[in-house]
Amino acid sequence: MSGVSLGLPAVPPRAPEGVGFLRGTEKFPAAARHELANAQLRRNIGKATHTIRAKRLHVTGELPDWEDLRDAGAAIKTDVMSRLPELLEQLEAAVVARGGTVHWAADANEANAIVTDLVRATGSDEVIKVKSMATQEIELNEHLEANGIHAYETDLAELIVQLGHDKPSHILVPAIHRNRSEIREIFLREMADVDPDLDDNPKHLAAAARKFLRHKFMTVPVAISGANFGVAETGTLGVVESEGNGRMCLTMPQTLITVMGIEKVIPTYRDLEVFLQLLPRSSTGERMNPYTSMWTGVTPGDGPQDFHLVLLDNGRTAALADGVGRQALNCIRCSACLNVCPVYERTGGHAYGSTYPGPIGAVLTPQLAGMDGKDDPNSTLPFASSLCGACYDACPVKIDIPSLLVELRHQKVQKSGFGAEAAAMKAASVAMSSAKLFTLAQKAAGLGRVVAGKKGKISKLPPPLSGWTDARDIPAPPAQTFRQWWDSTEGRAAIAAARKDGDR
């Protein structure tokens, strides 16, 4: 045991501001508004999420013990969080015993500095990268670039995003917002030595990427990866992928640096039998992904001879300090919740302003980076949901995302008070408590028809009601209230007819 604790336990700090990609520049409703206006994006994401949803249901329905696997996966992850100190110590010892070096990074700044120093020590000014959420989260590529080191993303979608000077919009398929013709344009514009006759056939686009990266795989001496899991018992790390770019990065270079969130540790090698069933089926809707690589420290004569594992906190311990919220740390980054979410399907990933979009992002991002007051874009994320519960049903490790959203909403209100919506609800309850006031209010609402104009929608109301219309349009109120109709000739005739029907 190490680390002397002095006095009372303190709530661990959130991820530092000003570094990394855990906070957008605008609130979710505002970001969603312009994302929703992008018809191309909505078409792409709608098509993609529906395709992958159907595949997932097919391959999860195939297993009679799917629910048993989910129960096991959920329990393993919950157990991990409760035994994190001992499991991390065990992982560290096992990796070191097999010739690896373990580094600890309290936050993004520290992780970036550690990785930069490690790359510098190799003398290389280039690195090849396996798709990794953790390195996205800390903006490692940008940090390396600022220090004269160029990072090549080697996952096809990450490459599309990188060459398009863009941000990923999905955990699994980061370029889900791009269609084939856009990708072709990006390649023609940004890829050195690309065939000028390249068409938009996905096969040909993939072949162009293969050609472009092949030379890098063979020559760049340093690779950086994330990890899907780290086994405490053996020190084994695993990366689950499809294209083989992962295998290339994990095999060809002399030096391998793996950045892993501390929550990715699992207790035993045997536990892999659960996650290697849950993850591919939930993620890509395949029985198994094409390639998974597992390595334990250094193997003489095979693969990188210099291996570094960087264990990253960056707000994870802050999430761990919340007995309810810590469930979000159980996430295995499969993206099933994104693909079933009606909100994500319409807004896409960019509106969430974080490496982690969709339902899991809405509960993970505010916990990692905090929700500092009502002007913080992150404080709007717990409200980016209709609480329909589809994410909970889809989650392979049974994270109760709807309950976490409600809890975070509660925390936000405790911190920064009620918004305009609460004031409107209060006013409504006063109006509805008296028939006279209600009639008056309804009459006043008729004015809304004037505001709505020809399009029959109200998109902008003055404060305090602007809080409502910032995020949604209101249909124009009807020409007559129910009470007015009830008192009209038409209404009386309809009621009389209904009575006759009922007497028969």
């Binding site: 993609a48 994190l84 097999r98 084939r180 294209e243 295998r247 198994m288 300090a321």
Partner: protein
């Protein structure tokens, strides 16, 4: 204070502030399954074909002939092999055989037409072949850089499901799980086979 102490201290603080309850892991999922040989093979073949791998069946005695024909059919003349591969397997092959070693620079493996290796274990239910770097499989780069991988799978190494296959592995060995040729669905979720790994996977099931 080192960063290790800082992070460890934070974790302990977090668990003190919100004490966790002990969790029992229920393992009611299927383990220890068995199935007759013919059924296991049929299941594996079905999955491999679904992944667009090319499957060959062979008896032990026919293996050299089957391998020679498979290599000839794809026009592979220069074949890499791991040092511990059974010599008799390529006795019918009339092309050039190059024995791999750690001293061969990995990029040179790209000059091979293909590679023939054995495998450690396979999982029928998911169509997954496990390589673990034993002498008859070679280092990881050997089965990654060439564009053709011909992989020999013995019937007795085929297990029914993931738990049964994983139980036969040695955790410390560098392990690669292969389920068909490399693929991507990154462009409009349309699956394209063959990105960075071998674009062609041939599996010869023996026994």
């Amino acid at each position: 204070m080192s960063s290790r102490d800082v992070v460890m201290g934070r974790i302990r603080d977090a668990l003190t502030l919100a004490p966790p309850t002990a969790t029992e892991v229920p393992r009611n999922y299927r383990t220890g399954r068995t199935m007759p040989d013919a059924e296991r093979v049929e299941l594996l073949v079905d999955r491999l074909v679904d992944y667009k791998a090319v499957v060959h069946r062979s008896t032990e005695a026919q293996l050299p002939e089957v391998l020679a024909r498979a290599l000839r059919d794809v026009g592979a003349r220069r074949i890499g092999v791991p040092a511990g591969l059974n010599d008799s397997w390529l006795s019918e092959f009339d092309g050039e055989t190059v024995v791999d070693s750690p001293t061969v620079p990995a990029p040179e493996l790209g000059n091979l037409d293909g590679v023939v290796t054995a495998s450690a274990v396979s999982c029928a239910e998911t169509g997954t072949i496990f390589l673990d770097g034993r002498p008859d499989q070679g280092r990881r780069a050997l089965t990654l850089v060439p564009d053709l991988h011909v992989c020999v799978v013995t019937v007795d190494s085929i297990e029914v499901g993931v738990p049964e296959a994983m139980a036969r592995l040695v955790p410390e060995r560098p392990t690669t799980l292969i389920s068909g040729p490399s693929a991507t669905s990154d462009i409009e979720l349309e699956r394209v086979e063959g990105v960075h790994g071998p674009r062609n996977l041939h599996v010869v099931i023996v026994g």
